[in-house]
Subunit: 266 residues, 3 copies
């Protein structure tokens, strides 16, 4: 997929500012992932500065991982501003399905904001879609490739967005086209915040391409970086450090060599 | 101590979900420690989702490291729910003795909640116990092995819990039995959040054994991982990464080979 | 500069307690930087414990990186207490100029508190100074050595403090003397929180020397550690771990060998 390689170069030339309202657990690792890749992170959530901060950012990432009654209004206000300013918004519904508050918050933002990409694991996207009146509910968390494909397509159609269902294979769809990305490594599941990092990286790519290709670019680049990291460091602590190294080192040549991306019309 | 090795295998088979209400400084490192070991971390503190989150968790860890007027009620509510649901609760009274707010908050939770394990350093446990009407007060922070033994026993009796006083040697007691663990490494004191990580790891082991043995298992496994890490990386930055590596790599054989655990009747 | 080397030894003998009210993104990395160097970090922000915590600390670091309506009063209260207690206060106006809230908050604290050292990059210090009635405004963010020198001097005079404008060359001035520090490495800009870490390290050195020399000592020691780290690990993830390693390993001999510090009368 040539566009992934080209987007990587564009991203580094652009050095986009990505505004993140994300969870406490991953703020540091998300910022480091964006910096290593070549983007600039901002983490700001104060109601009184959202207008200015979203205005200067290229995209907004909203991640509900440690949501509470003080942060939810901030997420909502930022999403409202970004929608008005037509900035790409990437939503990560962390833990949707685990509690009603999470599912409800994700759905509310999906409802009023113009979400470019919805990125989550199978259970999270299934929960969000299930609560929205579809038959697939929060119980279906076992991963199955065919179900993940269906889920990705249905979520995209239902919410009129690009839906990225990540797992052993990542499925990204806008409801009409579907990409399958087989890059990545299981060791990512032994490090916290790797899903969240991929969401913010999609935010960075959203500054240089339309949502579908931005999501595919972000997940492919992150996945390849993880593979390279694992080849050098097969245990989680040193692996994590090497993922940052490879987000920095990855280039067009490596992308073209390693990308496992397939496109399907649906 | 065979039970430590067996608990490690049980923990990985169970993959327990550990709900943490912990401090901002260590959320990331705590989550990574639990993931590397084979448990699943959740960090959630919103009042409106505590009921659901504690319900699906195997145990609750409460750490007061960056407590404030918004987080204290969340810690209290979670501890109340976990007590009602008979889930193990591990309390880490970070900085007790340094400020009245910390000592008071730890004591209040000890008072109304059913705490399985109270884990702190000598000064913290001494502060909590001292303020509770015992002669040992917050001033006695110098570490002495005999005093740490007494403190561990007395805190266990006074609060009807398992008390883990960690330091050069860790002492764990339920008031009747006492374990001394000589694993660990001084380099742990040069990395933030290592005490907090050990608390959450005790939380993970609490899903597979009773409090006394869970605490001994957690501290032994963490201590051995630190020793192995130091042997490979004797400086704090790379050491920290290697601790995660060894939490992932440690197995029954290594535990049996390296554990320095002694049991005393008291 | 002999005083840098001597301050390093003094710092390790003193093991100063540095109280930080800083941002969520860098709490972990700041604590690890201070620990590796030989200081002790505290992160506490609850209104009810600030009096006690600031009292036992050697210095206070205020960093506005993720400020909001709940944290600003905490920063202000802590700065007021430290001023009353004549403890050194180091202010890091993260993102000043990006939003009015940040510029305003930094200026308010500069106004009523006795700030020992103001540490920021060119854009941040320019924004703070520009808003204060000087001609240099928030637009001048392009780095220029002569402009950075002027800015450092002018900010020091205007706010009656020591001003540290960091960049490819760091300029530190009290309005009468100026130090230029050429240590450091561009890779620092690919890791989040390195500026914030240097601010807190200045806080640690403030326990053992007066503000001007404390700032020079902190920036020099941090810069050399980064250079050594890069020589061993030229990519951001492993580089970050090595920076901690070298904050721990750096000694007087290395400082004397590597320091690139020049002093100018102005």
């Amino acid at each position: 997929m040539d566009f992934v390689a080209k987007n990587l170069t564009k991203l580094r030339e652009t050095n986009p500012l990505v505004q993140n309202i994300t969870n406490y657990v991953v703020m540091n690792s998300t910022a480091n992932s964006l910096l290593a890749l070549g983007a600039s992170p901002v983490m700001a959530h104060a109601m009184d500065e959202l207008e200015e901060m979203v205005s200067i950012a290229s995209s907004l990432v909203v991640n509900i991982g440690t949501l509470d009654e003080y942060w939810i209004p901030s997420m909502e206000k930022a999403a409202k501003i970004a929608t008005d300013l037509k900035k790409p918004i990437i939503l990560d519904p962390v833990g949707a399905g685990a509690t009603k508050l999470r599912t409800k918050t994700a759905l509310k933002i999906l409802d009023f904001a113009d979400i470019s990409v919805l990125r989550g694991n199978f259970g999270e996207i299934a929960a969000v879609l299930g609560e929205h009146g579809k038959t697939r509910g929060v119980d279906s968390v076992a991963y199955d490739s065919n179900e993940a494909i269906e889920l990705s397509k249905n979520a995209a159609k239902e919410f009129n967005t690009v839906s990225a269902v990540t797992g052993p294979i990542d499925y990204v769809s806008n409801g009409k086209e579907l990409y399958a990305i087989s890059n990545g490594h299981p060791m990512l599941s032994k490090v916290t915040g790797t899903g969240c990092a991929s969401t913010s990286i999609i935010g960075a790519f959203s500054a240089v391409d339309e949502p579908l290709k931005a999501a595919v670019s972000g997940l492919t680049v992150y996945g390849i970086s993880a593979e390279m990291a694992f080849a050098e460091a097969p245990y989680p602590g040193t692996f994590q450090a090497k993922v940052y190294d490879w987000l920095y080192r990855i280039d067009e040549k490596l992308v073209l060599e390693k990308a496992k991306v397939n496109k399907f019309e649906i």
